[in-house]
């Protein structure tokens, strides 16, 4: 499913969590799961959705990290 199909309530929830994460990306966040054991990668969950992020630094800025959301995806579903 595409991010545009995300229910509004969950989109807002995910944006809020991403904001909290981006305020201090290398701190420990209860909403973030590690990814592949790399400190600059994480996944942030909102219900059945997840945002996959990279913490990167633009070469022309001195100390500003940017949290790049590379993909937002919904968990695969199976008929029960």
């Amino acid at each position: 499913m595409q991010p545009q199909q995300m229910p509004l309530r969950e989109a807002r929830g995910l944006l809020r969590k991403l904001g909290e994460f981006a305020a201090d990306p290398f701190a420990t966040h209860s909403v973030a799961l590690p990814l592949a054991g790399r400190p600059n990668r994480a996944r942030i969950r909102q219900a059945d959705w997840r945002a996959v992020v990279l913490i990167a630094r633009a070469e022309d800025t001195v100390a500003e990290d940017t949290v790049i959301v590379e993909r937002v995806d919904h968990r695969r579903e199976v008929y029960r």
Binding site: L15, A56, R71, D73
Partner: protein
């Protein structure tokens, strides 16, 4: 045809590992692009969180992408070959915009038309949901 049956917990563990592998690969590709093209070029089509919030609040995607590209309404209208007054009517949802105009605007903004269309659809649905919620509370 072979059929495999497995416990749900094992199925879910497999799905989790698959998702993690896909997510890692996506980040690998992004890092490679940043190395190759530089940070600014590799992230030129990524919207700042404020602009994503504007999209999810229902603002017209043409207007949000125009802000991202740093174009005035007149500059985008000229680049796309549509009149500024028509662009204004599209951005404020007074007119839906012809397919031809939307194709030209998306091309001038370097955004896939599908992406614009998906946000327009999402905007209409959220409007409907909010209307439904307002009616429901009466």
């Amino acid at each position: 045809m072979d059929t495999v049956t497995l416990p749900r917990a094992e199925y879910e563990a497999l799905i989790s590992r698959l998702e993690e592998a896909e997510d890692s690969a996506a980040i690998d590709r992004l890092e490679a692009r940043i190395d190759e093209e530089g940070f600014a070029a590799a992230t030129a089509d990524y919207l700042a969180v404020e602009l994503v919030a504007r999209l999810s609040a229902g603002e017209h995607p043409i207007r949000v992408w125009r802000a991202h590209r740093g174009l005035t309404r007149e500059a985008l209208a000229a680049a796309a070959g549509v009149s500024p007054s028509y662009l204004s009517e599209i951005e404020t949802r007074r007119k839906p915009g012809s397919l031809d105009a939307m194709m030209k605007l998306a091309a001038a903004l370097r955004v896939p038309l599908d992406d614009i269309a998906a946000w327009l659809k999402a905007g209409r649905q959220s409007e409907k949901n909010m209307k439904g919620a307002a009616e429901g509370s009466e």
